[in-house]
């Protein structure tokens, strides 16, 4: 069965910290995505990647970066965490013309 695994379900960090959110997929799919989900705003695309070492900005990339050194792993990095980055973060993976498969999400709180 398809599996997208996010390293943490809940995470609490402090303002100014560098935060890493990890995502691993076992589908051998090229495409991986990071979203954040906020009440009233829905899901918004932060970054995505169509291949190893490749990245594209989504709708809200400011304050974030990503890394895709291996096909199965896509990391989201908050360079200097701020309170407005408190959110639910969802990682997804997909093949071409296939639906995205989502991880369980990481609920991140920045204090």
């Amino acid at each position: 069965d398809v599996k997208v695994t996010q390293s943490s379900r809940y995470l609490v960090k402090r303002t100014g910290e560098k935060v890493f959110l990890e995502c691993v997929q076992d589908m051998d799919h090229e495409n991986m995505f990071w979203y954040r989900q906020d009440p009233g705003l829905g899901l918004r695309l932060i970054y995505f990647s169509y291949d190893v070492k490749m990245k594209e900005k989504g709708d809200i990339p400011e304050g974030y970066s990503v890394s895709r050194e291996k096909k199965e792993r896509f990391s989201l990095i908050l360079e200097s965490a701020s309170t407005n980055q408190t959110s639910m973060y969802l990682c997804a993976g997909s093949g071409s013309n296939q639906p995205q498969h989502f991880g369980d999400g990481t609920r991140l709180s920045i204090l």
Binding site: G42, L45, P99, Q100, F102
Partner: protein, 111 residues
């Protein structure tokens, strides 16, 4: 600017009734997806619609795509309580392969 408008945002219905959720988008689409999200859970893929006129059905849910009208619908037939969840459409397409979710429809089915 791409807009994906989903409505209604909130839907309360009685068991046994029929209803339709709409997803309008403002530019040409390559494909349209529907997802379900239960409270505190991640997103589950329901349907993938890849061409004009596409219709998919699973149980009491049926999704369709009209690319000329730039409209996708999710029709609920004889609703049951287990269908209570938030439903999202996901637009994929445009010149730079934008990915944009609708805001979601919170469906509550009452006994």
């Amino acid at each position: 600017e791409l807009k994906v408008e989903q409505n209604p945002l909130f839907l309360s219905m009685q068991e046994g009734k029929n209803y339709t959720i709409y997803c309008n988008y403002s530019t040409t689409s390559d494909r349209l997806y529907w997802y379900r999200q239960d409270p505190g859970k991640s997103l589950e893929s329901l349907f993938v619609l890849l061409s004009n006129g596409a219709v998919k059905q699973e149980g009491r849910l049926m999704a369709s795509l009209d690319t000329k009208a730039r409209l996708s619908t999710l029709h609920i037939t004889a609703a049951v309580h287990d269908l209570s969840a938030t439903y999202f459409c996901l637009y994929s397409g445009g010149s730079n392969y934008k990915l944009t979710f609708g805001k979601g429809t919170l469906l509550t089915v009452n006994p």
